[in-house]
Symmetry: C2
Subunit: 454 residues, 2 copies
């Protein structure tokens, strides 16, 4: 028999990883709900008509497609086969695995537009699948964790996203990050200001690479795609404007404040900067960064990105405002703003910074020993009473040697062992051993409960 | 543009359904962890070599298969195409969606046998996929919710499953159910007793249909598959034994107690019956039911099934002991016992019995009105202070008409609206309207917090 394995780019999450992942997800969910976001889940499979054409050509390549059930070849011909994979696919597969949570969300909104109360604040935490080449930190199945406010173009909602990001990371004990913010309207205004109106698309794509390839190469790329050297010179000046967030806004107001997109974009940035720090517990490095562009084409207003400051890692959270998410399904004019938390990367950062609580590695607090039939009645009473008090408790299932039972507790990281031998059973007492300190006490059931209930 | 839709047999879970589903899942998870079960998640896709041949021919048909990425036809020939779907499939697809949580669990145990501390108590709550014909209550994507104790053959673990079932349903407020229990060894002994040794397989399959087709048809089916009429007569007598659980054990002991399987099976049943009621808060209709057989072939010991008593519905929970789950992957002799909760059916039962808490329909407790820029500073202060106190709060994102803002609160089922107009903003007060009673009070922020913090 061949050894069983896992598909490339997929992972099992054992107990230790699951406790940590649940710690992250539970905390995020709590914050989402405190902000009034409502949960949504969509099916793993979507019709390919819903998915295809939404992520560009490259995205379409990365969709996992599901074979139609039954005799899927029955409606094909030898010619279809001869025409090759690409043209055979739509004839043998009409479903695919979701690629992100955004397109399914847009589909949901369009299908339920008459039932939804707008503005609609939804969150969604589910896996997505991409047939990408697996590498360190890149998987073929991974979780996305999105929150969106849709059906309003109010900048107040963008401000809420800033606070949401702050409170999520606060709840995780991860304060060590920088929140970069920019606005697509400002980038549009800049393209007008430098004399290349309508070219904000290539501008964003190029600027997005600044971090990786540097200013010089970005300029080269822009010149190659038709930007004049005068434009590039102006651009270099603009995106190198220095100063505090407020100083940058002031300087830009002088340059692009007369352009409608410039004015509105800078107003939005000012509004967010002006109010963000009014939250009394805020501790946030909020950086108005003109070089932040975000790759995705659907953003139209405020954009966000979070990077940890002391760990080498790309963006762990990103999002922004879009004017027309549901237009792809025929429902126009629905503006929204949203954010996506990268759980896998947050996990890695928290692990490196040692931010997971100790007790997350095991849930069981007490192991009750098993000496056999005679002691069983009292042992089971203790077991049930501890559990009723909310204490995670196990009993060793067989009367194996004590060494084996203690070994089990040790390996599982269970902090207390309740020894109930014949003496204890007849006295109705418990010898409670603290597995960390090694100390042990003979206690009554009441005392054990008092000691262990938090 | 065509209207977007969902693949057959799949569902969106909107906010209301999600709150209820999360209520069920969170409660079950809490009980699982109180019992020391540890979380596990496996990938949605498994290699077809792992999945195929584990669920019988019918099961193999119901596997969703994922097309290989890239030019998946490159390694095929026209002959492969001509040979038809069945023989082409393994050449163009090597992955499938998981069909249940049991086979992936067995694969995980085999792959991690050297790292796992046995006995291993794991739980797993994830969706599974089956290309079944969708009908009422049967979906192509649905959740399974499993807990297993593996690596021990102790009957104490079966007893734990009984208590686990009890506590799960108690936590859901669903006391209205019957737990049927039987033991495969007893069924094996019965097949020996009636003179058809080795035929426990067809016996189980036939008995499993008793509920649906009645005793007479079961007998007919057994006779057709070669059972003698004498055997069938004896069988009818045995499975119609009446009395309390204990009386049934006694009577059976007289009939099959001398057969090793009969003795051991009845010992297990006695052990569970004898101890189950020792749990002090127990309220459980536990029924030793000789006609319970469970379809799945891998059970070898105690078997369980839960049905609601006052709602017409099939099994909502089922499981039992197996001796050789991991044998399919070459690791023999690993005994275990487990249980699976059917979340979709539990959802339907709880909905029918009106068991979901009212407040599960929305998470937001307070909506703060939006009158515009002037009132914004104080409104945002109230917003952040309420959230900091753990109260789910929203602010309406734009200064729309009050009617619209109140409508939003109404439709969302938000119980309080905090009106902050110009008067309130200048007094630093809040007019808090109770949307249920209609009453309203002008309060300070402190008073609002006192009133709303639970």
């Amino acid at each position: 028999m061949s050894k069983p394995g896992l598909p490339r780019g997929t992972r099992d999450f054992g107990p230790e990883q699951m406790f940590r992942r649940n710690y992250i997800i539970d905390n995020i969910r709590k914050v989402f709900e405190r902000y009034g976001f409502q949960p949504l889940e969509t099916p793993s499979m979507e019709n390919l008509s819903v998915l295809t054409g939404k992520y560009g050509n490259e995205g379409d390549q990365l969709l996992f497609k599901v074979l139609n059930s039954g005799d899927y070849l029955s409606k094909t011909s030898g010619d279809d086969y001869a025409a090759g994979s690409k043209s055979l696919t739509p004839k043998i597969s009409n479903k695919g695995l979701r690629y992100d949570l955004t397109v399914p969300f847009a589909r949901y909104v369009v299908m339920h537009q008459n039932d939804i109360t707008f503005p609609f604040k939804r969150y969604q935490i589910q896996p997505v699948w991409r047939a990408d080449n697996p590498q360190k930190g890149r998987y073929r199945e991974f979780y996305q964790c999105d929150a969106d406010i849709i059906g309003t173009d109010s900048t107040l909602s963008d401000l809420e996203i800033v606070w949401l990001i702050h409170d999520v990371y606060k709840s995780l004990g991860l304060g060590d990050f920088e929140l970069k913010m920019n606005n697509r309207r400002i980038l549009t205004a800049i393209s007008e200001y430098i004399g290349e109106p309508g070219k904000e698309g290539p501008l964003c794509v190029a600027i997005d690479k600044l971090d990786k390839i540097g200013l010089e190469s970005v300029i080269t790329e822009l010149e190659r795609s038709g930007f004049s050297s005068k434009s590039c010179e102006l651009l270099s000046e603009v995106i190198q404007i220095k100063g505090s967030n407020e100083e940058k806004v002031d300087k830009l107001m002088g340059l692009i404040g007369d352009l409608p997109n410039g004015e509105r974009g800078l107003q939005d940035v000012s509004f967010i900067l002006g109010h963000a720090s009014s939250k009394k517990d805020i501790q946030l490095k909020l950086d108005f960064d003109l070089t932040l562009a975000r790759g995705l084409s659907y953003y139209t207003g405020t954009i966000f990105e979070v990077k940890p400051t002391s760990v080498k890692m790309g963006s762990i959270t990103g999002g922004g405002r879009y004017d027309d998410l549901t237009g792809i399904f025929g429902l126009n004019g629905v503006s929204g703003t949203g954010i996506s938390f990268g759980i896998d990367r947050i996990y890695d950062v928290m692990l490196e910074l040692n931010l997971f609580p100790e007790e997350q590695s095991s849930n069981t607090k007490v192991l009750i020993t098993n000496f056999g039939e005679k002691e069983l009645d009292f042992s089971l009473k203790v077991l049930n009473d501890l559990r009723s008090a909310g204490i995670s408790t196990e009993i060793y299932p067989s009367n194996a040697k004590m060494k084996k039972q203690f070994n089990y507790a040790n390996k599982r990281g269970i902090p207390y062992v309740a020894v109930i031998g014949s003496e204890e059973a007849s006295n109705q007492t418990i010898t409670l051993k603290d597995m960390v300190s090694g100390s042990q006490d003979q206690l009554g059931l009441k005392e054990v409960l008092e000691k262990l209930v938090v």
